[in-house]
């Protein structure tokens, strides 16, 4: 339960970090709340750890009317408490509140959680649901990568070795929309057996226009499911959210593991979808009024 030996650098600029990361077997260390367990269990044994915690300027949350950009060193707890960020995209606070426990949220970073690409992560799911993108820096420069091109498989992304994800951008919640996030876990703060995040958008005459959902611990990579057809055009007070839940159950492809069977997870997808959609719709109706 001790990490295998490695070399350690804590550069003070992004340029220096990228230079060290060009070494073979180098890995970025940000919050370390997923990486350190992997090192201690020797599931990962990088030759060099490049600790980015001493690089200035990566800990900013930038809020505009279009969305929220979160720097690579922003801890979950800071995002959870950022009122400006949750005003523009309420899913950020709703999801971060479900990330592990306070001691983990104080250290773990939202961008690191996305770059870790764990399909049981709350922030990967919300990143997809909000149609997010990341900024990826390499020695060749910096580029923006959308979530669909980012996730390749469990714990696997498309970014090249030696790159640093410097920020993640979560677009703003559209007008006349509401959100909700809920999960089922054995113990508060544990990995969710199943979680659901939803966005409901209404038309000007308060009918359901668009329904999107994304799940936690369901499938190999984050996915966004369009559930609109089950409830399209219904007045918001009369929408059949159970029908949307039933549709969601047909769209997901969960796995069986030690914590839950695939069937049970599919059942939870239906229940959580129905529940969260009712909450999100009520919020959307309030905002549309």
């Amino acid at each position: 339960m001790k990490p295998a030996p490695f070399r350690y650098a804590d550069p003070s600029s992004l340029g220096e970090a990228l230079a060290v990361l060009s070494d073979e077997g180098a890995k970025v260390l940000a919050g370390g709340q997923s990486l350190l367990p992997l090192l201690s269990m020797r599931l990962a044994a990088p030759a060099t750890l490049v600790d980015i915690n001493r690089i200035p300027g990566l800990d900013a949350v930038e809020v505009t009317a279009d969305g929220v950009t979160v720097g690579a060193l922003v801890r979950h707890d800071a995002l959870l408490r950022h009122e400006g960020a949750s005003a523009v995209q309420p899913l950020l606070a709703r999801a971060t509140a479900n990330v592990a426990h306070p001691a983990i949220r104080n250290r773990g970073t939202t961008v690191g959680s996305i770059a870790h690409a764990d399909p049981s992560g709350e922030m990967t799911s919300v990143f997809a649901l909000t149609d997010g993108s990341v900024t990826v820096a390499t020695t060749a420069g910096s580029e923006v990568v959308g979530w669909r091109d980012f996730f390749v498989g469990p714990l696997e992304t498309s970014i090249p070795a030696g790159a640093v994800v410097t920020a993640a951008t979560f677009p703003a919640l559209p007008p006349r929309s509401g959100t909700a996030f809920a999960e089922v876990a054995r113990r508060k703060g544990d990995y969710a057996v199943c979680g659901a995040g939803v966005v409901v958008t209404l038309s000007e005459d308060r009918r359901v226009e668009r329904v999107l959902a994304s799940y936690v611990s369901v499938g190999l990579t984050p996915e966004v499911h369009d559930l609109t057809e089950a409830v399209a055009g219904s007045p918001v007070e009369k929408a059949d959210w159970a029908a949307a839940g039933a549709l969601a159950r047909t769209l997901v492809d969960p796995d069986t593991d030690i914590h839950a069977s695939a069937d049970y997870r599919r059942l939870l997808v239906g229940v959580l979808t129905e529940r969260t959609l009712a909450d999100a719709a009520a919020e959307a109706a309030g905002r549309a009024a």
């Binding site: 339960m1 001790k2 990490p3 295998a4 030996p5 490695f6 070399r7 350690y8 650098a9 804590d10 550069p11 003070s12 220096e16 970090a17 230079a19 060290v20 260390l29 370390g32 709340q33 350190l36 367990p37 090192l39 201690s40 269990m41 060099t48 750890l49 600790d51 915690n53 707890d77 592990a100 426990h101 306070p102 001691a103 983990i104 104080n106 250290r107 113990r187 508060k188 703060g189």
Partner: protein, 172 residues
């Protein structure tokens, strides 16, 4: 030029005292506190961030010391369970209100998990305005990340309320 090392000398303020240690870079903070600095009050349970027994306060925030490298606290302030009690005027020690509450409410049995609970709760209560009522949700969020296999959590939660009330009275 960035220095790439396998061993480093770090300076860290632990419970108000500046300390220096030369550690291999792979040394976990939990192990550095126990082995290099001799502060064995920080307990090591699962070593992968699940049990919370090793929780310490780094720069004001409770963190798992098994999920940080010792080299990462170079220049930081760390508070461990040894730093909770304070000295009284006669050279004795006065327990922290959270420690007092644990004794009062029978919130520990074997005591293995206790340092982690104490640090999480002390930091949690010190960071909030105790004049505001402490909700059950807040208490559960505070202690939910720490495992206790003896007493169960009812008395631990009771101790959090007890400590919050004592800290509120002390503020008043």
């Amino acid at each position: 030029m960035t220095s790439i090392d396998t061993e480093r000398t770090i300076t860290v303020t632990v419970n108000g005292v500046p300390r220096e240690a030369t550690v291999p870079v792979r040394r976990l903070l939990s192990d550095a506190l126990r082995h290099d600095l001799g502060l064995t009050g920080t307990h090591v349970g699962c070593e992968h961030g699940v049990c919370g027994a090793c929780t310490v306060v780094v720069d004001g925030a409770p963190v798992r010391s098994c999920l940080m490298l010792a080299v990462q606290v170079d220049g930081a302030e760390v508070r461990t369970v040894e730093g909770l009690a304070r000295e009284d005027h006669q050279g004795g020690q006065v327990l922290h209100p959270v420690q007092e509450a644990f004794r009062e409410c029978h919130a520990l049995q074997c005591g293995f998990c206790t340092p982690g609970f104490l640090m999480t709760i002390a930091a949690g209560l010190e960071a909030r305005d105790n004049a505001e009522e402490l909700t059950e949700d807040e208490v559960e969020d505070m202690v939910g990340g720490n495992l206790c296999r003896c007493t169960g959590y009812a008395n631990i939660k009771k101790a959090v309320h007890h400590a919050a009330a004592a800290m509120k009275d002390a503020d008043a």
